[in-house]
């Protein structure tokens, strides 16, 4: 057996009781990371977390994950896409594998305008900036508009990825309540009036109007012009983030907010849900002044988006039946939504309420009074089901009584099994909670103010 010459080996096998020679205790210990004192203030909250540790388990196939929002890309005609990709490199490799323009491939931008036309938007390709997923568009918009401390309005709850971006630019997020018809216009008006009275700098309203992530609700057609009017009157820009707009289960796509205001709305779009998330192709549609700054910001950030991915998407739009493929996705997600809603109705304990999405990926569920979705998560993981606790979707510590369930990825049978497991978890947690008494059991990170409770239609609605 190979052995290593060791300075602290003792022949008698007895423990050594003092530090090894030459290793006197240093005055300052090791922080492991030698750069600790140099990080920017905005990196302060970038830390390991229990929740992330639990999500690492949720990715295992043994767990029914109702947590992640992964599109079901297996439903794509993968052979056709593969053949297309091969031909693209073989025939146009010199362009596809080269840098491209910072604003994005011109042919793709034309294709993007065709896609947006389905939601009533008449746009010119010059107004489009291609980005690395719409997440980068959100980052660039925040970068060019937000100084530390500026106010950004966002729905309560709001997309966790947007809140992360806003936090990284040190924005102050103010939540605006929603109900089952989306953002509440009166609450928006009141919020703006209050902030203006306080002389706060509101930079924009960030909204996901259709099939909201995480709430699953859609801003009603009646409310859309109201929201536009309120923001126009207050001089507040709207960032319309619409990755799910074409994934409605009933009727025609909702008319985008941008369709009725081409100066006061920046529209963010994405192919992540309609084609493939792994391509990382999204875009921003912005009025010329903002567009110019976005192009410069994009160039500074990444020089250009992947040309290969852009040309692939352009080719897909030109040669594949993409409208029919979106229908395939819609039907697939509708079946999964139905599996989730049916099972929720059949098994969830009394006191739970949830939204009934008309499209998209998510159901937003409110737990019985007193339960905390974050502290319940380890129990769920032990029971082999995962969800996202509501607290991630609030910038103000609220949301503990909510959780997000996604139905986009698991097969319907797995969804049913997952919901059954979740019902047992909620029952067990309710019992523990009852044991320790709701009045005594204060938990850290409990729900925020009552006006931020967000939408959650009852099971019968």
């Amino acid at each position: 057996m190979p052995t290593e010459p060791a300075r602290n080996d003792r022949a008698d096998g007895k423990p050594r009781t003092s530090p090894p020679e030459g290793h006197a205790a240093p005055a300052h210990g090791s922080l492991v990371d030698a750069h600790v004192g140099r990080y920017a203030a905005r990196a302060k909250d970038m830390a390991a977390s229990e929740i992330r540790a639990l999500f690492a388990v949720a990715a295992r196939p043994e767990i029914v994950s109702l947590a992640g929002g992964m599109p079901y890309v297996t439903a794509l005609p993968l052979d056709a896409v593969g053949e297309m990709a091969g031909q693209l490199v073989a025939q146009r490799g010199a362009v596809a594998l080269q840098y491209g323009p910072a604003q994005g491939d011109p042919a793709l931008r034309e294709g993007i305008c065709e896609v947006m036309a389905l939601e009533g938007i008449h746009a010119h390709p010059d107004e489009v900036v291609v980005t690395v997923g719409s997440q980068q568009a959100l980052d660039l918009i925040t970068r060019i508009f937000v100084d530390p401390g500026d106010v950004v309005l966002a729905e309560a709850p709001s997309y966790v990825g947007a809140l992360g971006t806003f936090a990284s630019y040190q924005a102050q997020v103010v939540h605006v309540p929603m109900d089952d018809d989306g953002l509440v216009p009166e609450a928006l008006a009141e919020c703006l009036a209050r902030l203006q009275a306080d002389r706060q700098r509101v930079k924009f309203l960030y909204t996901v109007p259709s099939f909201h992530n995480p709430a699953g609700v859609t801003l009603s057609a009646q409310r859309r012009p109201e929201v536009l009017r309120i923001c126009q009157r207050a001089g507040v820009l709207i960032i319309e983030d619409n990755p799910y707009g074409l994934l409605g289960f009933d009727g025609e796509p909702q008319r985008a907010l941008r369709a009725d205001d081409d100066h006061g709305v920046v529209y963010l779009g994405s192919f992540s849900k309609t084609i493939a998330a792994g391509l990382r192709v999204g875009w921003a549609l912005a009025p010329p002044g903002i567009r110019d700054k976005l192009v410069l910001a994009a160039e500074a950030a990444v020089l250009c988006s992947s040309n290969l991915a852009q040309l692939l998407v352009g080719e897909y739009l030109a040669s594949q039946p993409w409208r029919e493929q979106i229908k395939v996705f819609r039907e697939l997600y509708r079946e999964r939504r139905d599996a989730m809603l049916d099972t929720l109705g059949a098994v969830m304990p009394e006191g739970c309420r949830w939204t009934r999405p008309g499209g998209g990926f998510y159901v937003w569920l409110q737990l019985p009074a007193g339960l905390n979705s974050k502290s319940m998560l380890p129990r769920a993981i032990s029971s082999r089901v995962a969800y996202v606790p509501g607290t991630g979707f609030y910038a103000d510590g609220g949301g503990a009584e909510f959780l997000r369930l996604s139905y986009c990825f698991p097969e319907p049978a797995r969804i049913r099994e997952g919901i059954r497991r979740l019902a047992d978890v909620v029952d067990a947690e309710t019992e523990i909670r009852a044991t320790f008494g709701a009045d005594r059991a204060g938990l850290p990170g409990r729900a925020g103010p009552a006006d931020l409770t967000g939408p959650a239609g009852g099971p019968a609605s």
Binding site: H23, V32, A47, V57, L377, F436, G437, R440
Partner: protein, 316 residues
């Protein structure tokens, strides 16, 4: 490559410490390869047993943290497969992993350990949580540490300063398991002492002092570089240093452990208090065992290679 042959590091598992374990496993694999060992990692999933049967490794290093990795389950499976492995036998793992059991064995061997009570959730349900908790506070005082009886990385553990915070801490704890250990919080210097046994008896590594920069040594403080200051060796008096290393050796011996362990202690007023012992200590860049090896002038790769050689020679 060494003459050890192909070895397997088990990393991952389904406990909340999966991510930590994957990092431990990857780091150990790299260290072993650097030491000339043909090492690979494998997860403990449905593919494991067929893979081991098809291509039996000369020895296995279980680096799965938390339940299944440290409660004796994976060791039991490896025994069934007839594969030699590093670390304690299944029965010893079961005792060590259960904190109240390990504390009782340590106490019987003369080690000091903070006063505590261990209760399953049913007791609180059946007898009334309020009265039980009141009695606990009256007996043990405050502050208290509430933690799952089984588990690691401080998951589900809460430092409770006031009686009002105790029910919430109990709920968080019971989300991780059905039995809670409620322990008097002994204030002092937190120390981890690694023990290795390369054939000539258990040997303590230099104690590592753990000092979170702010707040307690919770999950974030454990695994975010920069959130905890480590002193190796710990800034202890010679007597304190002697006390913690002897305590770690004693714990290793009386719990019937083998090859490697890490004992966590608190030094308070010159006395060493046993908290818990780990049979598959973390091997990440913020874990204390590799720091202690480094301070002792030894490398993780060669020490673990030697442990694997020892296991291979020992057989099952």
């Amino acid at each position: 490559m060494s003459d050890l042959g192909h070895v397997l590091i088990l990393a991952g598992g389904l406990s909340p410490e999966r991510e930590v374990s994957l990092r431990s496993g990857a780091r150990l694999r790299d260290a072993l390869r650097e030491a000339g060992v043909d090492a690979d990692t494998a997860d403990a999933d449905a593919g494991l047993i067929p893979a081991v049967i098809a291509d039996p490794p000369s020895a296995v290093y279980p680096a799965i943290h938390g339940a299944s990795g440290e409660d004796g389950s994976i060791q039991e499976v490896l025994t069934l497969l007839g594969v030699p492995y590093v670390g304690a036998l299944p029965g010893a793992c079961r005792f060590a992993f259960d904190k109240p059991t390990a504390k009782a064995i340590a106490r019987a061997a003369g080690l000091a350990t903070p006063a505590s009570v261990t209760l399953p959730k049913e007791t609180f349900h059946d007898l009334g949580a309020g009265t039980v908790l009141d009695r606990i506070v009256a007996t043990l005082g405050l502050p208290l540490f509430v933690k799952p009886a089984r588990g690691g990385s401080a998951l589900g553990a809460t430092l409770v300063g006031t009686a009002e915070d105790l029910p919430g801490a109990m709920i968080s704890c019971f989300a991780y398991g059905d039995t809670a250990l409620i322990e008097r919080c002994v204030l002092g210097t937190e120390v981890a002492v690694g023990v290795i046994d390369l054939g000539s008896g258990p040997e303590a590594l230099p104690p590592v002092e753990i000092r979170p920069v702010a707040g307690g040594y919770d999950y974030a403080a454990r695994y975010t570089p920069g959130q905890t200051e480590f002193h190796v060796p710990a800034r202890l008096t010679a007597a304190e240093s002697k006390a913690v290393t002897e305590a770690a050796i004693t714990a290793h011996r009386v719990l019937g452990l083998r090859d490697v362990s890490r004992t966590d202690l608190i030094v308070s007023d010159g006395a060493a208090f046993f908290l818990e012992v780990n049979v598959a200590p973390g091997l990440t860049e913020t874990s204390t065992l590799p720091m202690a090896l480094d301070a002792a002038g030894r490398s993780l790769g060669t020490v673990c290679r030697d442990l694997l050689c020892q296991a291979a020679a020992r057989g099952t």
